[in-house]
Amino acid sequence: MNTVSIVVCGVGGQGVLTASDIISIIALKGGYDVKKSEVHGMSQRGGSVISEVRFGDKVYSPLITDGMADYILSFEKLEALRNLTRLKKGGAVISNDYEIKPASVLMGKFDYPLDIIERIKSTGVELTLVDGVGLALEAGNIRTVNTVLLAALARKLSFEKELWIKSTLERVPKKTHEVNRKAFELGYNL
């Protein structure tokens, strides 16, 4: 199989690394070679966070640079746009419909762009905007946003749905299994 490249991005503290971990474990279970890059240290203190996952028969570069990504899974709208040039023509964006204002905006130096969606759409790529918070609340716990988003990606990839659910539940507290299962269904059946 040709290598599939996924950029997972968001803001420090949103759970980007856990999400990309789950994807990489599923790909390994699916019998593929996998590579996954992540960022630690200075870059995590509320800054932009990117993690790249690639899987296929044989994967070389762990990094996904301009025009290499098949998918962008973003936990925040501005970060989806920031990383958009990594997407190849014909790729797809799945983004949380959620804004976190960076310090540069809070301090009034920049405006949070109002045309993010238009800009993404203008490139002709497929965009799935997910009301992560709304669906997570519907599932019964705001902290299941990441599960909703992962599920929205899962339905585009070829792995078994049950494998996704199992791998996701392994990473969350036992008593939240029921709500996470529900959250997964909501994201999967968008």
Partner: protein, 582 residues
């Protein structure tokens, strides 16, 4: 068994499989997870040391006594440990000893992008460079083996993309290696000049043997494909080369020093066009040129910042990737910042207000240099705050300048133990009058909350002895030592004004836990009473990520707010109030 492992975890795994006995380190991104992973293997004794020099010396002692030892650090840590490194090269290994250096091309979390392959050449010790986690595991084992076989410390060089990339690893079981019996060896381990002279001859002999070994080392690999183009590469660059040039022949260098001249010559003569693709310095390229061979390298490949498929492709005009076209260069940046409720913020707010000359140091608190706090004038390397402050005061003293009373050195608790203490003693001894501020957040926050001597918890989870910082400083003989609460900015201002005016050295400790550790207690959140807020934006001056302007008023994100009260304390209109119940 197949697992997905981070490079750092794989190094730990390899060390465990190879029967490692002792592991030491001082944390530093991107190396920190090596010791954290090792600490989970009960067969290995592991400890956080106060700094890298100490860590290497402890590991050296273990090797003297016949144990297999590993020491891990980030690239700049090796500068701190360079003194024992160069001696150890002469002394060699009894139990195998491997120094793991994690370099940081692109400076994701570092002050420079030094290329530690140079240390191998300078100290005359072999260096191995894995290109993924599986190799990190295997090379760790090879390194321990080589160390004992060639009687030399071995450098294992990772980079951020090796350390922090997860790739598939085939794990094996541990093989127990007995600790050799301790034997005194004056000629080997006491490097008096008379012994060192003999030892240096031995080092040169060793290098000859290692050079032969390099030419036949099976991890230095030729992958022959098209004869039109041949690429010599190493480390993570190998992966980008395979990605961008799938048809090229490749010489993958796993051990760049001693350089496998013979192998390189053989490879170069079998291809019509030769490229050398490596990150940062032209280390391998230099050796190819020494052979008088034409090569395309750093004339095209960037020297600054890490490589990636895009940069490798563009260096040689190759089309790679088919990106969508969209404008993104006008987006608001999202740099890291101090967390809401960070105990470092209050001091910086006051330092900025008093227009102090602040020499900084390395840690989360370096972020106090950024707007809106703008409170740090210098940052050089770990420990430099106290010593730089002393030097600035010496210069200002000569000028008879009033500014001499505005100089403050600021340092974190972990950094103080790492390399602040010697500087403080120096200032005291030489009659310096500076004020030193220690930001004691009860952890090594920047690198992921490791323990240190002020905390009293060891890496292996046993209770350790705890050093009381004020008591320690008073023990030196410094009289003026004061501890203040991190959010009580009125008191911080009062104490600082008093201490900088003093004609004597003093130390102010700002003590309160990092918001990301369990000791921190979140309090009820604050909100803005719009009837009182006049939109003056003074509260934005603390630089809290929870505060923003919403129209004419400021607004506090109640989910981000930790209830620290700093913003309420700076508001002149009492417009920021705490929610009653939690």
């Amino acid at each position: 068994m197949k697992k997905v492992m981070m490079g750092n975890e794989a190094v730990a795994r390899g060390a465990w499989e190879a029967g490692l006995h002792v592991a030491t380190a001082y944390p530093g991104t991107p190396s920190s997870e090596i010791l954290e992973s090792i600490s989970k293997y009960p067969e290995i004794y592991s400890e956080w040391c106060t700094n890298e020099k100490v860590a290497l010396e402890v590991a050296t002692g273990a090797s003297f006594a016949g144990a297999r030892a590993l020491v891990a650090m980030k690239h700049v840590g090796l500068n701190v440990a360079a003194d024992p490194l160069f001696s150890l090269s002469y002394i060699g290994a009894t139990g195998g000893i491997v120094i793991v250096t994690a370099d940081d091309p692109s400076m994701h979390s570092s002050q420079n992008e030094q290329d530690n392959r140079h240390y191998a050449r300078a100290a005359k010790i072999p260096v191995l460079e894995p290109s993924d986690s599986e190799e990190a595991r295997r090379f760790m084992k090879i390194a321990l083996q080589m160390s004992e076989e060639f009687d030399t410390p071995v450098l294992l060089r990772l980079t951020t993309r090796i350390s922090h990339t997860r790739t598939v690893v085939n794990t094996e079981e541990r093989k127990e290696i007995p600790i050799k019996k301790y034997e005194k060896d004056f000629k080997k381990r006491v490097i008096l000049p008379m012994n060192a002279r003999t030892l240096h001859y031995k080092v040169e002999e060793r290098t000859k043997k290692l050079r032969e070994f390099a030419n036949n080392f099976k991890e230095n690999k030729i992958e022959m494909k098209s004869k039109d183009i041949g690429i010599i590469t190493d480390s993570i660059s190998y992966q980008y080369v395979k990605e961008v040039f799938p048809l090229a022949s490749v010489l993958k260098i796993a051990m760049p020093w001693p350089f496998p001249y013979k192998l390189a010559r053989e490879f170069a003569s079998s291809v019509s066009r030769l490229l050398c693709i490596e990150e940062n310095d032209p280390f391998i390229e230099g050796y190819i040129r020494q052979l008088g061979i034409e090569v395309e390298g750093k004339d095209k490949v960037p020297m600054v910042l890490e490589l990636n498929p895009d940069r490798v492709a563009r260096s040689f005009g190759v089309d790679y990737g088919d990106p969508v076209e969209v404008k993104v260069d006008d987006l608001p940046p999202r740099p890291p910042s101090l967390c809401p409720g960070c105990p470092h913020t209050g001091f910086f707010y006051i330092a900025n207000k008093l227009k102090l000359i602040v020499t900084g140091d390395i840690g989360c608190y370096t972020l106090g240099a950024l707007p809106p706090l703008n409170a740090i004038d210098t940052c050089v390397e770990m420990g430099a705050s106290i010593t730089n402050a002393h030097g600035i005061q010496l210069a200002l003293r000569a000028e008879g300048n009033e500014d001499i009373k505005k100089v403050v050195g600021v340092i974190g608790d972990s950094t103080f133990f790492h390399s602040g203490i010697t500087g403080l003693i120096n200032t005291y001894y030489n009659g310096g009058i500076g004020t030193v501020v220690i930001l004691d957040n009860r952890t090594t926050a920047m690198t992921g909350h490791q323990g240190h001597p002020g905390i009293g918890r060891t890496l292996m989870g046993t209770p350790g002895r705890k050093i009381d910082i004020p008591k320690f400083i008073k023990g030196i003989g410094i009289e003026h030592v004061y501890t203040v609460e991190p959010y009580d900015i009125e008191r911080i201002e009062e104490v600082l004004k008093r201490e900088i005016a003093r004609d004597d050295i003093s130390v102010v400790i700002v003590k309160g836990p990092c918001v990301l550790i369990s000791e921190f207690e979140r309090k009820a959140y604050f909100y803005v009473d719009e009837d009182k807020c006049n939109g003056c934006k003074l509260c934005l001056g603390v630089g809290c990520p929870a505060i923003s302007m919403e129209g004419d008023y400021s607004r506090i994100d109640k989910y981000l707010c930790t209830g620290c009260s700093l913003c309420a304390r700076v508001c002149p209109f009492d417009a920021i109030v705490q929610k009653e119940d939690k």
